[in-house]
Symmetry: C2
Subunit: 209 residues, 2 copies
DNA sequence: TAAGAAATTGTTCAAGCGTATAATAGCACC
DNA sequence: GGTGCTATTATACGCTTGAACAATTTCTTA
């Protein structure tokens, strides 16, 4: 019986492909659909190869979760420009593609549901969450002081918690039921609400956006 | 070989117990841990009985999801009193026990992750979500008009979306990392934020709470 | 171009899965 | 206190799962 020909890939590329295949499986069929065999089919290899790269199925899932968190946070954490623009970009990025879509939510929820079950995932989660909120708190502090507003640590902390919640919640709503909202309606609501919470305008005249 | 003795339970009670056992399994071990055998063990019966009450495993999961949604929304939708108190209670209920805890989140996330995969669950989800947001929109409309503020449908819609998002997000934060917040800190942040968004006070002098 | 390292395949295994069904035991009713 | 109904148990079946491992192929390098 003829053995199938195969391509010998660099380790980094192969690991990446396997993780990508894992995410595809989870997004399409849920965590239950992410079996080593399904992942292998999706990646175009055989099941045995997965255990050549990952100690166990748990390990590939942990790596996959790291990738999911990175994709959800990396863009927003690298905003540039003046404090106002950084804050606005942070908001917009979190509520538009590719961060906000049903696939992201599907992946996120799949892993979140295991965070309380799997201590390894809990560690990965906690890191991502704190880093995200700290980034937001920094943006707020910069913006508030630039505008000469109260930027005390206590106020920044509370505002960061509230605005983090607001962004998370609107992200959720958009991902779960994007078709219930008009184009960029959620972004508009977010910007208006955050302006109100901060007591400052985020869309000053003359700033084309 | 001695057959184990058993109790012949009323249908409603047995179905309730089986669903409760299902939720326990999901909360403890994730959706993957909710196998018919595990559920049966948790409920103190044998696996075969589950298929006597539920057409398939899918069906018991659907029923279980209905229960989860009901528990997350029923208390908040039955608030009473004047518009202000109803709104405040709505907020507090959603951010405190038993709605806000890690078990609730675990269950919610488990099902949410399957909403995009399973059309039956998607229907159940959509109903619950719309009913929740409508309830909030009604509370806001009542409260705003009582206070003589702008209660136009467009404003109520946008405020409901924003406040729904804020509550969802803070609920998430509290469930995921309750120990990062002081006792009732999230409730305080929610009340303050919503007062700011509405431009009205929710804690008038003389209202003991 | 031969050899050796290791990436990849193909096969096997025991365990656990959802489902099906026959046997049994609890309970209501006469 | 039988009798009949059916809730419940017990067992079996076919499949899929994660894992293990030997066989094979590719690629590097000398």
């Amino acid at each position: 019986m003829a053995r199938r020909t195969f391509h010998r890939a660099p380790e980094a590329e192969r690991r990446h492909d396997l993780i990508e295949a894992t995410l595809d499986c989870i997004a399409e069929y849920g965590l239950q659909g992410a079996t080593v065999r399904q992942i292998a089919i999706k990646a175009g290899v055989t099941a045995g190869l997965i255990r050549h790269y990952f100690q166990s199925k748990e390990h590939i899932l942990q790596e996959a979760y790291r990738v999911v968190i990175a994709r959800l946070t990396e863009k927003a954490e690298r905003v540039t420009g003046d404090p106002e623009q950084r804050l606005v970009d942070f908001i917009v990025i979190n509520l538009t593609e590719p961060v906000a879509n049903s696939r992201s939510l599907s992946l996120w929820a799949s892993f979140i549901s295991r965070v309380s079950v799997d201590p390894e995932l809990a560690v990965i989660h906690r890191e991502g969450y704190l880093s995200f909120r700290n980034a937001l708190e920094g943006l707020l502090a910069d913006f508030l002081s630039t505008r000469g507003a109260d930027a005390s640590p206590e106020r920044c902390r509370r505002l960061a918690i509230a605005i983090n919640g607001l962004l998370d919640g609107l992200w959720l709503e958009g991902c779960l039921a994007g078709e219930l909202f008009e184009e960029s309606e959620l972004v508009g609501i977010a910007l208006t609400s955050i302006e109100t919470l901060l007591g400052l305008s985020l869309r000053q005249a003359g700033t084309a956006r």
